[in-house]
Point group: C2
Chain length 142, copies 2
Protein backbone atom coordinates (compact mmCIF):
# COMPACT_ATOMS: atom_id res chain seq x y z
CA UNK A 1 0.00 0.00 0.00
CA UNK A 2 1.29 3.38 -0.98
CA UNK A 3 1.77 6.32 1.30
CA UNK A 4 -0.74 9.11 1.24
CA UNK A 5 0.33 12.67 0.50
CA UNK A 6 1.73 13.97 3.75
CA UNK A 7 0.52 17.52 3.27
CA UNK A 8 -3.02 16.29 3.35
CA UNK A 9 -2.47 14.55 6.67
CA UNK A 10 -0.75 17.56 8.10
CA UNK A 11 -3.63 19.79 7.13
CA UNK A 12 -6.17 17.78 9.07
CA UNK A 13 -4.39 16.65 12.19
CA UNK A 14 -6.14 19.27 14.26
CA UNK A 15 -9.54 17.70 13.73
CA UNK A 16 -11.16 17.15 17.12
CA UNK A 17 -13.15 14.00 16.43
CA UNK A 18 -14.56 13.72 19.91
CA UNK A 19 -16.44 17.01 19.76
CA UNK A 20 -17.77 16.87 16.21
CA UNK A 21 -20.74 15.03 14.91
CA UNK A 22 -20.44 15.85 11.20
CA UNK A 23 -17.44 15.21 9.00
CA UNK A 24 -16.53 16.01 5.44
CA UNK A 25 -14.88 13.39 3.27
CA UNK A 26 -11.63 15.33 3.54
CA UNK A 27 -11.90 15.42 7.34
CA UNK A 28 -12.10 11.63 7.56
CA UNK A 29 -9.54 10.94 4.88
CA UNK A 30 -7.02 13.18 6.56
CA UNK A 31 -7.69 11.87 10.03
CA UNK A 32 -7.49 8.21 9.08
CA UNK A 33 -4.64 8.42 6.60
CA UNK A 34 -6.56 7.30 3.52
CA UNK A 35 -7.58 9.18 0.39
CA UNK A 36 -10.96 10.69 -0.36
CA UNK A 37 -10.77 8.57 -3.48
CA UNK A 38 -10.64 5.44 -1.33
CA UNK A 39 -13.63 6.51 0.73
CA UNK A 40 -15.66 7.02 -2.43
CA UNK A 41 -14.46 3.62 -3.60
CA UNK A 42 -15.73 2.02 -0.39
CA UNK A 43 -19.07 3.69 -0.89
CA UNK A 44 -19.22 2.29 -4.42
CA UNK A 45 -18.68 -1.14 -2.85
CA UNK A 46 -21.60 -0.47 -0.50
CA UNK A 47 -19.39 -0.51 2.55
CA UNK A 48 -20.47 3.04 3.44
CA UNK A 49 -23.62 5.07 2.84
CA UNK A 50 -23.04 8.65 3.92
CA UNK A 51 -25.74 11.29 3.64
CA UNK A 52 -25.70 13.90 0.92
CA UNK A 53 -26.20 17.58 1.65
CA UNK A 54 -26.69 18.96 -1.81
CA UNK A 55 -24.30 16.78 -3.81
CA UNK A 56 -21.73 16.62 -1.07
CA UNK A 57 -21.19 13.69 1.21
CA UNK A 58 -21.59 14.43 4.90
CA UNK A 59 -20.52 11.78 7.39
CA UNK A 60 -21.95 11.30 10.86
CA UNK A 61 -20.24 9.73 13.84
CA UNK A 62 -21.69 6.37 12.99
CA UNK A 63 -20.24 6.59 9.48
CA UNK A 64 -16.85 7.37 10.99
CA UNK A 65 -17.17 4.42 13.38
CA UNK A 66 -18.09 2.18 10.48
CA UNK A 67 -15.09 3.35 8.50
CA UNK A 68 -12.88 2.57 11.48
CA UNK A 69 -14.29 -0.96 11.51
CA UNK A 70 -13.56 -1.33 7.80
CA UNK A 71 -9.95 -0.27 8.26
CA UNK A 72 -9.52 -2.56 11.23
CA UNK A 73 -10.91 -5.48 9.25
CA UNK A 74 -8.47 -4.76 6.46
CA UNK A 75 -5.56 -4.65 8.89
CA UNK A 76 -6.59 -8.10 10.10
CA UNK A 77 -6.39 -9.31 6.51
CA UNK A 78 -10.04 -9.61 5.63
CA UNK A 79 -11.20 -8.84 2.11
CA UNK A 80 -13.56 -5.95 1.54
CA UNK A 81 -16.14 -8.49 0.51
CA UNK A 82 -15.84 -10.29 3.86
CA UNK A 83 -16.03 -6.99 5.69
CA UNK A 84 -19.10 -6.00 3.71
CA UNK A 85 -20.89 -9.23 4.65
CA UNK A 86 -19.97 -8.77 8.26
CA UNK A 87 -21.18 -5.19 8.31
CA UNK A 88 -24.42 -5.99 6.54
CA UNK A 89 -25.22 -8.29 9.44
CA UNK A 90 -24.16 -5.56 11.83
CA UNK A 91 -26.81 -3.43 10.11
CA UNK A 92 -29.67 -5.89 10.32
CA UNK A 93 -29.14 -8.23 13.27
CA UNK A 94 -29.97 -6.42 16.48
CA UNK A 95 -29.18 -9.41 18.68
CA UNK A 96 -25.82 -9.83 16.93
CA UNK A 97 -26.09 -13.60 17.28
CA UNK A 98 -25.50 -14.29 13.59
CA UNK A 99 -22.88 -11.61 13.50
CA UNK A 100 -20.80 -13.30 16.18
CA UNK A 101 -21.15 -16.70 14.51
CA UNK A 102 -20.03 -15.24 11.18
CA UNK A 103 -17.17 -13.46 12.85
CA UNK A 104 -15.94 -16.70 14.41
CA UNK A 105 -16.18 -18.45 11.05
CA UNK A 106 -14.27 -15.71 9.28
CA UNK A 107 -11.64 -15.50 12.00
CA UNK A 108 -11.21 -19.28 11.96
CA UNK A 109 -10.76 -19.24 8.20
CA UNK A 110 -8.26 -16.45 8.45
CA UNK A 111 -6.31 -18.13 11.23
CA UNK A 112 -6.18 -21.36 9.27
CA UNK A 113 -4.85 -19.53 6.25
CA UNK A 114 -2.23 -17.65 8.26
CA UNK A 115 -1.18 -20.79 10.10
CA UNK A 116 -0.75 -22.56 6.79
CA UNK A 117 1.37 -19.72 5.54
CA UNK A 118 3.41 -19.80 8.75
CA UNK A 119 4.02 -23.54 8.35
CA UNK A 120 5.05 -23.01 4.71
CA UNK A 121 7.41 -20.26 5.73
CA UNK A 122 8.97 -22.37 8.48
CA UNK A 123 9.46 -25.20 6.02
CA UNK A 124 11.11 -22.87 3.53
CA UNK A 125 13.42 -21.44 6.20
CA UNK A 126 14.35 -24.91 7.41
CA UNK A 127 15.18 -26.05 3.89
CA UNK A 128 17.24 -22.96 3.21
CA UNK A 129 19.21 -23.52 6.39
CA UNK A 130 19.85 -27.09 5.37
CA UNK A 131 21.08 -26.02 1.95
CA UNK A 132 23.31 -23.40 3.54
CA UNK A 133 24.82 -26.03 5.84
CA UNK A 134 25.46 -28.34 2.90
CA UNK A 135 27.13 -25.53 0.95
CA UNK A 136 29.35 -24.74 3.95
CA UNK A 137 30.53 -28.31 4.62
CA UNK A 138 31.11 -29.23 0.98
CA UNK A 139 28.54 -32.00 0.97
CA UNK A 140 27.08 -33.49 -2.25
CA UNK A 141 25.93 -31.12 -5.02
CA UNK A 142 22.33 -30.11 -5.02
Amino acid sequence: MKNMPSEKNKKNQIVDSDAKDLYSIADLAGELGISTRTIRFYESKNLLSPERVGNTRVFRKRDRARLLLILRGKRLGFSLRDISEYLSLYDTDETQAHQLALLRTKVDERLELLENQLADLRTTITELKEIRELARTGAPDI
Copy 2:
Protein backbone atom coordinates in the same frame (compact mmCIF):
# COMPACT_ATOMS: atom_id res chain seq x y z
CA MET B 1 -35.91 43.47 -5.21
CA LYS B 2 -34.91 41.50 -8.22
CA ASN B 3 -36.16 38.11 -9.18
CA MET B 4 -33.97 35.11 -8.59
CA PRO B 5 -32.93 32.86 -11.48
CA SER B 6 -35.90 30.64 -12.09
CA GLU B 7 -33.84 27.62 -13.07
CA LYS B 8 -32.37 27.52 -9.60
CA ASN B 9 -35.81 27.43 -8.02
CA LYS B 10 -36.92 24.76 -10.41
CA LYS B 11 -33.96 22.57 -9.55
CA ASN B 12 -34.73 22.50 -5.85
CA GLN B 13 -38.49 22.36 -5.66
CA ILE B 14 -38.41 18.67 -4.86
CA VAL B 15 -36.69 19.24 -1.53
CA ASP B 16 -38.71 17.54 1.19
CA SER B 17 -38.01 19.86 4.11
CA ASP B 18 -40.15 17.97 6.58
CA ALA B 19 -38.04 14.82 6.39
CA LYS B 20 -34.56 16.31 6.29
CA ASP B 21 -32.47 17.59 9.08
CA LEU B 22 -29.46 18.88 7.10
CA TYR B 23 -29.56 21.37 4.29
CA SER B 24 -27.03 22.78 1.90
CA ILE B 25 -26.99 26.49 1.15
CA ALA B 26 -28.40 25.74 -2.30
CA ASP B 27 -31.21 23.67 -0.76
CA LEU B 28 -32.39 26.58 1.39
CA ALA B 29 -31.86 29.25 -1.24
CA GLY B 30 -33.92 27.32 -3.74
CA GLU B 31 -36.67 26.46 -1.33
CA LEU B 32 -37.09 29.98 0.04
CA GLY B 33 -36.62 31.89 -3.19
CA ILE B 34 -33.47 33.78 -2.22
CA SER B 35 -29.91 33.53 -3.46
CA THR B 36 -27.05 31.68 -1.86
CA ARG B 37 -25.32 35.02 -2.03
CA THR B 38 -27.98 36.55 0.20
CA ILE B 39 -27.66 33.74 2.74
CA ARG B 40 -23.94 34.34 2.95
CA PHE B 41 -24.65 38.03 3.31
CA TYR B 42 -26.96 37.35 6.26
CA GLU B 43 -24.25 35.27 7.86
CA SER B 44 -21.81 38.14 7.44
CA LYS B 45 -24.35 40.29 9.29
CA ASN B 46 -24.42 37.72 12.09
CA LEU B 47 -28.02 36.84 11.46
CA LEU B 48 -27.09 33.21 10.82
CA SER B 49 -24.33 30.91 12.07
CA PRO B 50 -24.43 27.63 10.19
CA GLU B 51 -21.97 24.83 10.88
CA ARG B 52 -19.08 24.07 8.57
CA VAL B 53 -18.30 20.59 7.37
CA GLY B 54 -14.94 21.09 5.84
CA ASN B 55 -15.29 24.56 4.34
CA THR B 56 -18.89 24.04 3.37
CA ARG B 57 -21.83 25.44 5.25
CA VAL B 58 -24.31 22.86 6.50
CA PHE B 59 -27.62 24.08 7.87
CA ARG B 60 -29.71 22.31 10.46
CA LYS B 61 -33.44 22.59 10.97
CA ARG B 62 -32.97 25.32 13.53
CA ASP B 63 -30.95 27.33 11.01
CA ARG B 64 -33.73 26.96 8.50
CA ALA B 65 -36.29 28.05 11.08
CA ARG B 66 -34.17 31.04 11.92
CA LEU B 67 -33.91 31.98 8.26
CA LEU B 68 -37.69 31.77 7.97
CA LEU B 69 -37.97 34.20 10.90
CA ILE B 70 -35.56 36.58 9.19
CA LEU B 71 -37.58 36.56 5.98
CA ARG B 72 -40.80 37.08 7.88
CA GLY B 73 -39.34 40.05 9.75
CA LYS B 74 -38.28 41.59 6.46
CA ARG B 75 -41.77 41.15 5.02
CA LEU B 76 -43.13 43.04 8.03
CA GLY B 77 -40.79 45.89 7.18
CA PHE B 78 -38.18 45.51 9.87
CA SER B 79 -34.55 46.28 9.08
CA LEU B 80 -31.98 43.52 9.28
CA ARG B 81 -30.47 45.33 12.21
CA ASP B 82 -33.78 45.22 14.10
CA ILE B 83 -34.18 41.57 13.24
CA SER B 84 -30.65 40.84 14.42
CA GLU B 85 -31.34 42.44 17.80
CA TYR B 86 -34.55 40.53 18.15
CA LEU B 87 -32.88 37.23 17.29
CA SER B 88 -29.96 37.80 19.61
CA LEU B 89 -32.45 37.99 22.45
CA TYR B 90 -34.11 34.88 21.08
CA ASP B 91 -30.73 33.20 21.47
CA THR B 92 -30.03 34.22 25.04
CA ASP B 93 -33.30 34.78 26.88
CA GLU B 94 -34.84 31.46 27.72
CA THR B 95 -37.89 32.97 29.37
CA GLN B 96 -38.44 35.22 26.35
CA ALA B 97 -39.64 38.03 28.60
CA HIS B 98 -37.24 40.60 27.17
CA GLN B 99 -37.84 39.27 23.71
CA LEU B 100 -41.56 39.97 23.90
CA ALA B 101 -40.97 43.44 25.33
CA LEU B 102 -38.55 44.27 22.53
CA LEU B 103 -40.95 42.91 19.94
CA ARG B 104 -43.73 45.14 21.23
CA THR B 105 -41.41 48.15 21.16
CA LYS B 106 -40.30 47.38 17.61
CA VAL B 107 -43.83 46.79 16.42
CA ASP B 108 -45.04 50.01 18.06
CA GLU B 109 -42.27 51.96 16.34
CA ARG B 110 -43.09 50.38 13.04
CA LEU B 111 -46.81 51.06 13.41
CA GLU B 112 -46.16 54.66 14.34
CA LEU B 113 -43.98 55.12 11.28
CA LEU B 114 -46.55 53.55 8.98
CA GLU B 115 -49.39 55.55 10.50
CA ASN B 116 -47.42 58.76 9.99
CA GLN B 117 -46.83 57.83 6.39
CA LEU B 118 -50.53 57.07 6.00
CA ALA B 119 -51.48 60.46 7.43
CA ASP B 120 -49.02 62.21 5.11
CA LEU B 121 -50.43 60.36 2.14
CA ARG B 122 -54.00 61.28 3.09
CA THR B 123 -53.00 64.93 3.42
CA THR B 124 -51.36 64.88 0.02
CA ILE B 125 -54.37 63.29 -1.59
CA THR B 126 -56.70 65.79 0.03
CA GLU B 127 -54.62 68.71 -1.20
CA LEU B 128 -54.45 67.32 -4.72
CA LYS B 129 -58.22 66.95 -4.78
CA GLU B 130 -58.61 70.55 -3.67
CA ILE B 131 -56.30 71.79 -6.41
CA ARG B 132 -58.16 69.70 -8.96
CA GLU B 133 -61.45 71.25 -7.83
CA LEU B 134 -60.06 74.76 -8.13
CA ALA B 135 -58.76 74.04 -11.64
CA ARG B 136 -62.15 72.72 -12.68
CA THR B 137 -64.22 75.69 -11.40
CA GLY B 138 -61.88 78.37 -12.71
CA ALA B 139 -61.12 79.77 -9.31
CA PRO B 140 -58.13 82.09 -8.53
CA ASP B 141 -54.71 81.14 -9.98
CA ILE B 142 -52.47 79.16 -7.80
